[in-house]
Amino acid sequence: MTEQAQKRRSMIRGGLTLIAAAAFYEALARSGIFAAALLPTIPTVLRTLYAMILDGTMPLHALFTLYRVLFGFFLAVTCALPLGILMARFKRVENFFLPLTSALMPIPSFSLVPLFMLWFGIGNLTTILIVFYAASFPMLYNTWTGVRSVNPLWLRAAGSMGADERRLFWKVIIPGAFPFIITGMRQAFLRCWIAVVGAEMIAASDWGLGWVIFDAKEFLNADIMLASLIVIGGIGFVFERVVFGSLERFTVYRWGMVRMAKG
C-alpha cells in the first residue's frame, strides 16, 4: 500500500515537472526575448510535426534513416560476430586481428566521414559504411569477450561426456556467450543510431532525419528541427525499450541461468 502510494507520488511529481518544464519553455518562447524563428512555441512544433507526417515527408525521412541504420547494423553483425568467435577460438586469428582492432577502435566513426565522402560520394553508401564501422567494434569486442569467458568447466564437462567439436560449439559455447553477444548488439545499435544521424548531417543526401535537421538550420526552421528531434528520440526510444528491452529480459534470464549453474 505504501509502496503504491510512493509510486503514485513519484508519478505525480514527474508529471508536474514535465508540465512545469513545458510551461517554462512556452513562456520563454512567447515572451519574445528570443526570435520566434529560433524558439518556436510547442503548438507550432506539434503542428509542423503533424503536417510533415501527413504530407509523407517525415515517414520517408525516417524510412531512409532506418534503412541505412539497419543495413549497416546487420552488415556489422554478420561480419563481426563470426570474426569475434574465430578470434576467441583460434590464437593465430586473435594475434592478427587484435592489434588492428585496438588501433582502429579508438578512431571515432565521424572522423572517417570526410574520407568516405571522397571515396564513395554522398549518399547511402557512405552513410551505411559509417554505421557499419561504428557498430563493428562493440560487436566484435563483446563477442570475443563472451566466447572467451565461457566457463572452461562446462567445456571440459561437455567434452568428457563425449560431445564433438560441433555440438560443443552450438550447445555450449554459443549459449554461454549469448549474454555478451546481446550486450554487444545493444551497444552497437546505440552507436549506430548516433552515427547515422551524424553521418547524414555531414554527408548530406536528400533524405534522412539527420539531413532534415541540418537542412532546416540553413532556413532557420527551428520548428522542423524540433519536430525531427522528437521523431529521432521516439524511434531511439522504441528500439531501446521494445527491441532491446525484450532482448535484455532474455539476457537477464540467461544471466540468471548462468548464476544458478555456477552457484
Binding site: N95, F97, L100, M105, F110, V113, P114, M225, L229
Partner: protein, 275 residues
C-alpha cells in the same frame, strides 16, 4: 618470419625477457605490416586516383610537414582543450545532479523524467539546435560536448549513490556520524566505482562526438575541422594525417585514462566484495 615467431611462441615459453619482448613486438607489428603493404599495393596500382588514395610515403610526408610547421600541433591542442573543458562541464554538473537524485527522493522524481526524455536522443541531433541558439563556434562546441557526455555521468552517479548499502548508512548514523561525515566517508567512497565508470563512459562519448561537432560547428581550429577542411581541397594526405593523430589521441585516452580508471574501479570493486 614474424609468422614463425607466432607459431613457436606457445611451444617455447621459456626465453630471456628481452627476446620475449621482441617476439611480442613482432607479433603486434605483423598485422600492420600486412595492412600497410596492401594499402601500398592498392595506392600504386592506380585503382583510385592518386589524389584520393595517397601512398603511405605521402601520408607520412604530410604528417611530418604539418607537425614541423606547427599546424597540426595547434589543431591538436585546440581539440584537447575543447574535450577537457566540455568534459569538465559534464563531470561537475553530472556528478552534482546524480548525487542530488540519489540522495533526495523529490529531486529524483523531478529530474528523472527530464533526463530519460533527453538522454536517448543521439547527441549530434542537438548540434544544429545548439548552433542556432548559441551561434557557430567555440561556445556551442563546448556546451554540446558537455551536455551530451553529462548523461552517462548522471546515470551512473545516481545508480552508485542508490547502491550504497542501507546498513552502512544506518550503522554510521547510529555511531553518531553527522550528515557531512556520512556523505564524505560512506556515500562518496561507496558510490565511487560507479562514478568512475560514469566518468569513463562520459569521456568516451565526449571524444566520439567532438570530432563531428568540430566539423559542423565551424570552429577555426581543431582536428575535426582539419579533416573536413582538407576534403575541400582534396588533400587526402592531410586528412589521413589528421585521422592518425585522432587515433593516437584515442589510443592514449584508452591506455592512460580509461584503463587506469578501470583498474582503479576494479580494485574498489574488489574491496567492496570483501567487506
Amino acid at each position: 618470419m614474424q609468422d614463425a615467431a607466432t607459431i613457436v611462441m606457445p611451444a617455447a615459453p621459456a626465453g630471456t625477457p628481452a627476446a620475449e619482448r621482441w617476439r611480442a613486438l613482432a607479433r603486434n607489428a605483423f598485422p600492420f605490416l600486412v595492412v600497410g603493404a596492401l594499402w601500398e599495393i592498392v595506392a600504386w596500382a592506380g585503382l583510385f586516383p592518386r589524389q584520393l588514395f595517397p601512398t603511405l610515403e605521402e601520408i607520412a610526408r604530410a604528417l611530418v610537414e604539418l607537425t614541423l610547421n606547427g599546424i597540426l600541433l595547434h589543431h591538436t591542442a585546440e581539440t584537447i582543450a575543447r574535450l577537457l573543458s566540455g568534459f569538465a562541464l559534464a563531470a561537475s554538473f553530472g556528478v552534482a545532479i546524480g548525487m542530488l537524485m540519489g540522495r533526495s527522493r523529490r529531486a529524483e522524481d523531478c529530474i528523472l523524467p527530464l533526463v530519460s526524455i533527453l538522454a536517448p536522443i543521439p547527441g549530434l541531433a542537438y548540434t544544429p539546435l545548439f548552433l542556432l541558439w548559441f551561434g557557430p563556434g567555440e561556445v556551442s562546441a563546448v556546451l554540446l560536448v558537455g551536455f551530451v557526455s553529462m548523461f552517462p555521468v548522471i546515470y551512473n552517479t545516481w545508480t552508485g549513490v542508490k547502491a550504497v548499502k542501507e546498513i552502512w548508512l544506518r550503522s554510521a548514523q547510529s555511531m553518531g556520524a553527522s550528515d557531512r561525515r556520512i556523505f564524505r566517508h560512506v556515500i562518496l567512497p561507496g558510490a565511487l566505482p560507479y562514478i568512475l565508470t560514469g566518468l569513463r563512459l562520459g569521456l568516451g562519448q565526449a571524444w566520439r562526438i567532438l570530432v563531428a561537432v568540430e566539423m559542423l560547428a565551424a570552429v577555426p581550429w581543431g582536428l575535426g575541422w582539419l579533416i573536413f577542411g582538407a576534403r575541400e581541397f582534396l588533400n587526402t594526405d592531410a586528412m589521413m594525417a589528421g585521422v592518425i593523430v585522432i587515433a593516437l589521441i584515442g589510443l592514449a585516452l584508452e591506455k592512460f585514462v580509461f584503463q587506469k580508471l578501470e583498474h582503479y574501479t576494479v580494485v574498489r570493486w574488489g574491496m567492496m566484495g570483501r567487506s
